[in-house]
Amino acid sequence: EAGVTQSPTHLIKTRGQQATLRCSPISGHTSVYWYQQALGLGLQFLLWYDEGEERNRGNFPPRFSGRQFPNYSSELNVNALELEDSALYLCASSPTGAGGYTFGSGTRLTVV
């Protein structure tokens, strides 16, 4: 069984640009979660999608947005990038709204 896959592995962007990060959940998992792991700040909850709908959102500005597609894959978009957006972005999936996640290996976003 394929795990949660994230692309790209690394992404380098310039301040002010937009970044798009992608996530494919485990087959059969309908929920996708996004977390930001910045240096020294731990894992911060960003977004939760289930069945194509945004179910919950963390304390992040509106320039962080995303969507979930009919095949349950998901995109995270970050507009107007700032230097402090540099972090490891982790995607996770679960079969229902609860029960523990399976994480992908993450996308390392560097904003210069």
Partner: protein, 115 residues
């Protein structure tokens, strides 16, 4: 509000020694509790989880954790650590209802192994 506290930022133990990583949580209802491990530059791997039932939970890689409701704790233990256990460990709490199922993570404990 949900919260998870891991009081130890960094722990160093000798290879072969026993290990206990502390975790305290605050949650208004019956929690789901998790321990994850993260190797450098990698995603998180689930070690074990507690939903209900036996308060001593066995996980992968020889880890176990004990849920103590009276102390709001869910400490992770291993009787004998190996050099490959060096990593960051995260305790997490989640709700049992789908509407509140986002998982809140502690700040992590970095484990170093002394040869």
């Amino acid at each position: 509000a949900q919260s998870v506290t891991q009081p130890d930022i960094h722990i160093t133990v000798s290879e072969g020694a026993s290990l206990e990583l502390r975790c305290n949580y605050s949650y208004g209802a019956t929690p789901y509790l998790f321990w994850y491990v993260q190797s450098p530059g990698q995603g998180l791997q689930l070690l074990l989880k507690y939903f209900s039932g036996d308060t001593l939970v066995q996980g992968i890689k020889g880890f176990e954790a004990e849920f103590k409701r009276s102390q709001s704790s869910f400490n992770l233990r291993k009787p004998s650590v190996h050099w490959s256990d060096a990593a960051e460990y995260f305790c997490a709490v989640g709700g049992i209802y789908s509407s509140a199922s986002k998982i809140i993570f502690g700040s992590g404990t970095r484990l170093s192994i002394r040869p």
